[in-house]
Amino acid sequence: MPPASLPLAAGAVVVSRAPLARPGKVWNSQGMVRLDDIGLRYGRGPEVLHGISFSLPEGSFHWLTGPSGAGKTSLIRLLSLTERPSRGTISLFGRNPDGVGRNARQALRRQIGVVYQDFRLLGHLTAFDNVALPLRLAGEREAAIAANTAELLAWVGLAERMAARPVTLSGGEQQRLAIARAVVAGPRLIVADEPTGDLDERQAERLLGLLVSLHRNGTTLLVATHNERLIERFPAPRLALSHGRLVAQDG
């Protein structure tokens, strides 16, 4: 449930939402996300991630940091199941996504909300339909989809832009739309790749506020950034990457 104190855009309406509500924070020592000696190479190219091992407890919030080219986006792609590791094993929610069938892998994907650096919105759909898509893929009834989507668009301050195409929205609006789409189906894990990349400080803090509010409701959160001011503003353990290796892990 988004808290009423959420720093939203002016005019945003905050209402409670059942899909996002989770029971209190649960720190599962087993780790809902576990990577064990992961390596990744694209095609026959050099390995871009080397021997990455860590686990994220359920309901935790971690920053993923590192300079450009450190492998943050590659790690996000692995966790969003967009890539398969060239070595090592991944465990998501207690299952190995590379050891299950395609339908089961897609079912795992639907439990992960991804915020891409470049938003990856569908240009031919309206803002409403972009956000509603994960619910439609999950087979929700149209009435529930309409209610949840409208509520979430209001939560991110886009209630008045439901029928707008992404191309007509500003960068900040597109980013909020991407976040709304990532969280609408109540995912267990949210991974965000530089979600505030092109935004000013004020907008970036607002967007991080949206994500952190979800974490407070029990969603596991991993956010890649190199914005140190944002990390100071929202303190959390960090995974630091350098040259494709995990060089620091605190928390």
Binding site: S80, T82, R84, R102, N103, Q106, F128, L137
Partner: protein
């Protein structure tokens, strides 16, 4: 008020290239329709030929007006006695007719009048036919009842009544004709299958082009957790509809083509009503006669053609999309 759910989540309907597909499918579908109609027509003609051949035969009686000779053998005498023939002063033609009419299973045995024989020979003999008339054999048309008697039995009876008379069973040439019909039917069915394969091939190319145009959107929706089946169904629905339209266009092209062919064939029809209607000045009557001339199963198959092409297109699109989607992680 939220907008209604989008009918086309992947934006496939925006592909302008795919709008050509119904027309391309229509031409392949037209070939399939004509080939299927040809197969059905050949099948109908073959059945008609077979039925006619087994129900009819002809008997040639040399020297038909000569007096029938007394049977030379005991077997022939029995044959004549069974037929109630062999009377004094009877011609050979009459003796054979009487013998045939006495055989169970023969429904009708009628001599072909000499004038009709001469008319049949006129194209070959010209005016000379009448001078040769004296040398012509008598010809008897025999029509069977429910089942034709054994040809050996007929030959024995005819030989007994008029030695030298010949029974023409038509069996050999009908068998050859049926073999030819079977080959034509097989070729026509192969041509129809090839045309449907061409339809499927066109759909494969169109789906691949569509996938290439929507690669990014597909990756996004797949990344949101859409299953291969869900995505493949979008392609199946889109290209199934396009294929259906192609089938409807094929039907619209095939019906006039088949009616035109039937109109051309009407004068050669065996049904007098069709021949008469074909010569009628009333074009509606001519069309109706032509439509009736074609076997009804042709119209049934044509009516199913759009749905069949739509189904082939949908299944092909689904398989093509699934094969591509397997490349995604």
């Amino acid at each position: 008020m939220p907008p209604p759910p989008p009918r086309d989540v992947l934006g496939l309907a925006r592909d302008h290239e795919a709008r050509l597909l119904p027309w391309l499918v229509a031409f392949a579908g037209l070939l399939a329709a004509l080939a299927l109609a040809g197969a059905i027509a050949v099948d109908a003609f073959a059945t008609r030929w077979e039925r006619g051949a087994t129900a009819h035969l002809t008997v040639q009686v040399p020297e038909p007006d000569a007096p029938a000779a007394a049977p030379a053998t005991g077997e022939a005498r029995v044959g004549q006695r069974q037929a109630g023939q062999g009377q004094e002063g009877q011609t050979r033609l009459a003796a054979v007719l009487a013998a045939l009419r006495g055989i169970p299973g023969v429904a009708l045995a009628e001599p072909i009048p000499r004038a009709r024989l001469l008319a049949l020979l006129e194209p070959w003999l010209g005016g000379e036919g009448s001078t040769l008339a004296q040398g012509l054999p008598g010809v008897i048309e025999v029509t069977a009842g429910r089942t034709m008697p054994a040809i050996a039995e007929l030959r024995a009876a005819v030989e007994a009544a008029a030695p030298g008379a010949v029974v023409e069973g038509h069996g050999v040439w009908v068998r050859r004709l049926l073999d030819l019909a079977a080959s034509l039917r097989a070729i026509a069915l192969l041509a129809a299958a090839a045309a449907l394969l061409v339809c499927a091939g066109l759909v494969v190319f169109a789906v691949r082009a569509s996938i290439a145009a929507h690669r990014e959107d597909l990756a996004i929706v797949h990344g949101l957790g859409a299953s291969d089946g869900w995505l493949a169904r979008r392609f199946a629905r889109r290209f199934g509809v396009l294929g259906l339209w192609g089938g409807v266009l094929a039907l619209a092209l095939a019906v006039p083509a088949l009616l035109a062919l039937a109109l051309l064939a009407a004068p050669f029809a065996s049904e007098p009503a069709s021949v008469a209607a074909a010569g009628s000045a009333d074009s509606l009557a001519r069309l109706r006669a032509a439509a009736l001339l074609l076997p009804p199963s042709i119209w049934a198959v044509l009516a199913l053609l759009p749905a069949a092409i739509g189904l082939v297109s949908a299944v092909t699109a689904s398989i093509t999309a699934r094969l591509w989607l397997r490349r995604l992680p």
